[in-house]
Amino acid sequence: MFRAMLRKEIIELAAPFLLAFAALATVIVEAVSRSRRHFDQQGAWMLDDDFVYPFLVISLCLAVVMGLVQSLSEDVQGTWRYVLSFPGGWRRILKLKLACGLAVWLCWGGVAVALSFLGMFVELGPAPEPLQKLFDPVLRILVCVPVVYLGAFLTALRRANWFFSRLMPAVGVFVCWFILPYLPAWWIVAPLATAGFGAVLIALMFHVASSRDFA
């Protein structure tokens, strides 16, 4: 059952993932080529807003689209009813979906780090600057954006009669973009805050799924 659900979710998430991958590759190629044109900038592009903001936007878009694909598309296709008629029960289906979504997000993190490292390697050769410094903005974004995914999922799962939940992604974006990455000692605070906020969102999702009609 787990493998069947995983396969389905991965296939459904493949298109937005590949689009995001292509966009990120383009951004990195552009950043590296720009850096090479300005020798005094070499190696600094990962800390440059021209890379960080596109990466943040791509990550946010991917997170929102993933949440919507996993939840809203089931509503649109009418397939919640189908999949919930299976013996697994809605709790297990929801857990599997979230596990798949978070697994895909981890893959995205891996891809983002690998592409960034590849960009650095192409530019500077085998002796890059310390990785912690270089990957700092990438990691900040990867740690903070999952709440946006969860918020988008909850928004699509939740019917419109509770308007606040419709704003969850906006709250998530706000928290990620303006607060979490810029906190002091972010490597401790941001993961904890993300985990806490994520846990609240997941609890809300289970509450919503237990009380809503899948008509």
Partner: protein, 339 residues
């Protein structure tokens, strides 16, 4: 609103309730046994509208029960509540002995559902849809799926969005029978299918029905289908189960009396057992439940110049029962006036 229609409709709503009770009460006693589906005052509101109203439904094991009603009568909502997809606002639904909303996976594995419009993942191929559904069930009969796929000559490698509605219905049926369910619930499975495909689908369903002990609940608009396969029918009107009876009993209970009157009536007098009436000029059609001497005397009291008592097939009986009073439609009034 046309005052004739308004008063007539108000009168026949109560009459319909009476007749429904009459049909239910007059039906032969069910053989007591296991009851896969039992609902107790099941009620559901959407907005301020009560779409299912105090539904008490019992379906015996091994029976083929057709849930009928016009659009918006509450059939699909009832089925979704039985599947645990929709929460009732009041009352309860018990399916295979468990509360519909808290069924264990073991119980749910004994139920198959074919949803209205056949909601499947349309990007999947037929083979992919089978591979996806199979791991969810503890019991899965590849041979049964194979039989249905072969019978309908379905292209296994084709994606579902490229199939016709009829083929998607056939895939749904194949997936539904594969787990060898004790209870098969089908929500308007033949809607949108042409006559030939519908007939094929029903033939297959009949074969499935022949398996001992299997209970089937299905909703439908197509009365000829129901007549072929269902041994019991339930008719819902405005969320209320008005009829719950063996199919033959319902069909035989209704009679239409067509009379020619010397002059049109503003509204026929009330009469117990009068379900609906329609008038065109001097011609009056009256539909009675359990037509008897009292009804005959009532008809005679109208002093008709001619009268015919007609038997109805299931479709006509359903239409007459659910349509209510029509009175005189405005276009007919003009027509009559020109004549």
């Amino acid at each position: 609103m046309d005052p004739v229609n308004e008063s007539a409709n108000a009168g026949t709503t109560d009459a319909a309730a009476e007749q429904g009770r009459a049909v239910q009460e007059a039906g032969p006693e069910r053989v007591s046994g296991q009851q896969p589906v039992v609902t107790d005052r099941l009620t559901k509101y959407y907005g301020g509208s009560r779409v299912v109203n105090g539904l008490n439904l019992t379906i015996e094991e091994g029976s083929v029960y057709a849930l009928l009603g016009r659009n918006g009568a509450g059939k699909s909502t009832t089925i979704k509540m039985l599947m645990g997809l929709v929460h009732p606002d009041f009352g309860s639904a018990t399916v295979l002995g468990e509360d519909a909303h808290n069924m264990t996976p073991e119980t749910r594995a004994q139920i198959s559902w074919v949803g209205e419009g056949h909601p499947l993942y349309r990007w999947m191929t037929i083979d992919g849809a089978i591979r996806f559904a199979k791991p969810f069930y503890p019991v899965w009969h590849d041979d049964l799926v194979e039989q249905v796929i072969e019978h309908f000559k379905l292209p296994r490698k084709r994606r579902l969005y490229r199939l016709s509605n009829g083929q998607r219905a056939q895939v749904s049926l194949a997936l539904a029978v594969a787990s060898d369910p004790k209870l098969l619930i089908l929500d308007d499975p033949t809607i949108g299918l042409d006559t030939v495909v519908r007939r094929d689908f029903l033939e297959s369903m009949i074969q499935i029905i022949q398996q001992e002990g299997r209970t089937i609940l299905f909703s439908s608009h197509i009365l000829s289908d129901v007549d072929r396969v269902a041994d019991h029918i339930g008719i819902m009107l405005d969320g209320v189960l008005r009829v719950d009876a063996p199919t033959e009993r319902f069909r035989d209970a209704l009679r239409k009396v067509v009379v020619e009157l010397p002059a049109p009536l503003p509204k026929p007098p009330d009469c117990p057992g009068l379900t609906s009436w329609a008038q065109t000029g001097n011609r009056l059609e009256l539909v009675f439940v359990d037509f008897n001497e009292i009804h005959q005397s009532y008809v005679d009291s109208l002093t008709p110049t001619t009268q015919d008592v007609l038997e109805l097939n299931l479709e006509d009986a359903f239409v007459e029962y659910t349509r209510g009073a029509r009175g005189i439609m405005p276009s007919f009034v003009r027509e009559v006036a020109h004549v």
